[in-house]
Homo-oligomer: 573 residues x 2
């Protein structure tokens, strides 16, 4: 039943490569059909209503549900079939993250059901069925990802391929749908602000604002309709995360893995206090900023300008700090002499591509802002802050991507490797006990280290290290005499390495918290790209809104994704 | 100086992976800045004129020119440095293709210079400098690609990386610029037709239609301004082709290649007559169709409808034929038992990704059309042809991609391999001469084959083949007795294989010519997506025009790219 890729395929069966293309083309068409439907709904195409789009999404989700049930049943009945696992895919913290987002998504679904019940007079049945199906879909999908995200499917490939790619693009479509609903809401809020500020003219029409009938229970209604929009950002992140995890599962189908063990590196709070404190300061100040911004913006021209100035100054200082931290980290890497691991790893490859790809979204916005500032005829004072802000956004992502991608490609530390190979040398020589005392003197004098194995191994390590070039028998006699000198140099080298590692860990934690912080403002409607007005004047309202609505989702996803990657970097360092 | 990837990097120097990210991020930002500028020009942003965009492009081209000169000089002075070559990259026919397009681009540049001279009173200097720079850029770039497209750069990597990626994105921006100019022109023509048909209302404004001053020499002016738009499609293809070749060069930097020799397989006209004839019929009928379409469309409502009906009926029959051919080819592959080559090969990987990626452009349009037909309130008769046409476009690309991707991944034919390994067996046994006569009887009776080596090897081959399962010593005696029977079966098997090969070659040639044919209509302004009016009514004029203008360039590029791939398939089969 199992078949290694590269071996001659069985007559009539599809070779690996072709099966991949077959299913991916199916998925792309599924996605494009949905995209056209979404687009048609967004531009109010003749004869297309929201219920058409929702029916399509419901169908897709039901198909995915059936497939997941089939897959779960089959893997239950065929437990004896030893499955290979990709140790890099579906990390535990990723699963925890997705579960958190899924729980909030379930709350969103229950809000939507409540909203439907309240307005059931004027809403189509699809709007009631959708949240119910979505809730079931969410629960089963999270369970599926917990159990099977690491699977490397080797048998019955065709149905699995189609099922997984179907799931990938279903989640992407749900993401698109979420993003669009969120964008429409933000645009409506922006238009309301413009009306308050006196810019209201005939062209401003609020879009899908409220249902056409009265609510049955007034208090709950406003809670539901307001609350939904605070929960959407989590729903959006949930779908894109699920989609990436499923994509890795799809890439892994039929793959042949080299079994190299991975060290479990749990997250530790020890030794990252500095990065933690600075990061938390940024996080708290950002939350405060968002609250003030949302209260002040659009109240009056003066208050809006103050809010924008505050936003830019805060963002500039945070981004400048992040740039500095990133540069320091890169410099530390340049001082070290360590090779990168270029082995095949779909999860890591996707991570790197997503970082650069989604950063492009916010780079586009930043270049737009820069061009607008250069070309604008009038420059109110607060718009000048936009220039350093936009430049810093570009530079910061550039540096951060370099740091993350280099970090996730670095091989495990050399010291560990030496220790492991030399443990065997030491043990085979039987000299472990006799040499330990001389080591202990040094060990007691140093700061508490992380390598618990070191005491038993260091001597052997140095001894063998000296032997590398010369013949072992000849140098055997000299080795003990060299101990004290070599141990000292090794110790100091190790201490420097530890020091560097601690700095890197602090930087990773700091950047992690900063990225989480920077995710909050755009996700919860604090978008100066709308509010500062400069770009809208230069490019025109409609064109700029289109650009922002297309690029912003990627920009927001970038922050969450880089936070996830930085968490991994912190665990690995 | 040379360093294998994966080995520990030299202290302070950038590791392979990071250098790649460093340069690609630079390139993406270069591109995005240009994209924003292009977008600003397209939406008539305040304070941005065409000369700003052209100045940016001129600067990029000059930087690329300097870099190419530096690279050419350095490789001249360091001839002794043995460079590795990627045998898969920059095939000869690809270079010939790009040279052809470059020559037409040079004619376009000379037309533009003439146009500038005629209208120099009201055009900015940038519009005169641009074609001159572009012509020099084109000549040097084609020379550069002829000499260095196969290079695998191993030394001084950083400057090369930045130079190559700069070139990639400069060409992509020039492509974007060409596409935009072409789209604006098509849209103007479409609007003019709408005005003729009586749909003209106030919102239809012609965009960048003609300069604001009079021409100095009236006859030449119209030739230049008309001629430019017939040459643009070639200019567009030139830039995207150059961009892909440079991208492969960039991917190859620092790569370590396994030296496996590639068989030179030149294009042969022998044995592809059937495919050739059918393909040429399609090509000629398509050209005739385009001429009739362009004459008839927009003259009157009746003539437009006739032109559209003719377009759809022709396209439907061609696409149906192509689908059938593709399915036959895939069935032949399923009957054969050959494994795919999954070794690393950036050129091939890019080819496959581009096929699927650019097909998505036309799939989007087709799904849009399908949705429009389903949702439209009124259905004039000719619009119904749009439905099978759109479905066939999707299905045909689906099948064709499967065929091309499987073809370019297939390993060289097994027969050759057997012959090669068994030549040694035969020679070592010294039985070549004694067994030859019995073979010759059969060889004389068969049709002229392609395998010139066969006469000397066939016997040994069969003999060893029979021995595969049993012990060699035991079967040694039986082998001669089996000759006549096994030779016959081998001969008939080989004849069947040859027959299949000929069918595949004919299909490849037919599809090649069909794809070339299908490139012509959209490239030269025969776009029913504009003219049938159905989608514009359902989605609205503006939204649908935006979708068409974004998706169409990819759809057009798909045809040229798949033609190129099919040419390669034909050579390989």
């Amino acid at each position: 039943m199992e078949k290694a890729p590269g071996s001659p395929s069985v007559r009539g069966s599809y070779p690996q490569k072709t099966a991949g293309i077959l299913s991916s083309q199916y998925g792309i068409n599924l996605f494009l059909a949905g995209l056209v439907l979404t687009f048609a709904w967004a531009v109010h195409a003749v004869g297309i209503s929201k219920s058409h789009l929702l029916s399509y999404l419901i169908t897709l989700m039901l198909v995915q549900l059936l497939w997941m049930l089939w897959y779960l049943c089959r893997s239950c009945t065929q437990r004896r079939l030893i499955r290979e696992k990709d140790t890099h895919a579906g990390a535990r913290w990723l699963k925890c993250g997705i579960t958190l987002f899924a729980v909030i998504t379930l709350i969103l679904d229950s809000f939507k059901i409540g909203y439907y019940v309240d307005f059931s007079n004027c809403l189509s049945a699809a709007e009631g069925i959708f949240p119910v199906t979505h809730a079931i879909h969410t629960i089963l999908q999270v369970y599926f990802l917990w159990c099977h995200a690491k699977d490397i499917i080797q048998s019955f490939k065709t149905l699995e391929r189609f099922g997984v790619i179907h799931s990938v693009f279903t989640n992407l479509l749900l993401w698109t749908n979420g993003v669009l609903t969120e964008s429409k809401h933000q645009l409506n809020e922006h238009k309301e602000r413009l009306i308050t500020l006196g810019f209201g003219n005939i062209t401003i029409v609020l879009d899908d604002h409220a249902p056409q009938c009265n609510c049955t229970t007034t208090t709950l209604c406003s809670i539901f309709s307001q609350g939904i929009y605070y929960l959407y950002p989590f729903n959006i992140e949930y779908h894109i995360l699920a989609s990436t995890m499923l994509y890795v599962l799809w890439k892994n189908i039929g793959r042949k893995v080299e079994h190299h063990q991975q060290h479990k590196t749990p997250f530790k709070f020890h030794g990252i206090t500095v990065g933690m404190i600075f990061g938390l300061i940024v996080l708290i100040s950002t939350i405060a900023k968002v609250v003030v911004y949302l209260i002040q913006i659009g109240r009056s021209k003066n208050k809006s300008e103050l809010a924008l100035t505050m936003f830019y100054l805060h963002a500039i200082s945070v981004l400048a700090l992040m740039c500095t931290a990133g540069i320091v980290a890169l410099l530390i890497y340049r001082l070290e002499d360590r090779s990168l691991d270029n082995s095949k790893n779909p999860a890591r490859k996707l991570d790197a591509e997503l970082l650069v790809g989604t950063a492009a979204g916010s780079w586009l916005l930043s270049w737009g802002s820069i061009l607008a500032i250069i070309c604008a005829q009038a420059h109110p004072k607060y718009t000048w802050y936009n220039l350093p802000y936009s430049i810093l956004v570009i530079v910061e992502k550039y540096i951060q991507n370099l740091f993350i991608i280099e970090s996730i490609h670095r091989k495990e530390e050399k010291v560990n490797d030496d220790i492991k190979t030399l443990r065997i040398v030491t043990i085979s020589r039987g000299s472990t006990l006799s040499l330990t005392p001389s080591y202990k003197e040094i060990y007691n004098g140093r700061a508490a280290g992380d390598e618990g194995e070191l005491p038993y191994l260091l001597n052997g390590s140095i001894c063998a290290r000296e032997n590398d070039g010369a013949k072992e028998e000849a140098s055997q006699a000299n080795c003990p005499a060299m101990h004290s000198a070599s141990e000292l140099s090794f110790y100091s080298r190790n201490s420097v390495a530890n020091h560097k590692r601690r700095i890197l860990k602090n930087i990773a934690v700091f950047l992690f918290l900063c990225n989480l912080s920077l995710w909050i403002p755009p996700a919860f409607g604090c978008r100066p790209e709308y509010d500062n007005g400069l770009e809208e004047i230069v490019f025109g309202f409609e064109p700029w809104i289109i650009v922002v609505n297309l690029a912003m989702p990627f920009s927001i996803f970038y922050r969450m994704h880089s936070a996830a990657s930085l968490f991994e970097v912190n665990c690995k360092t």
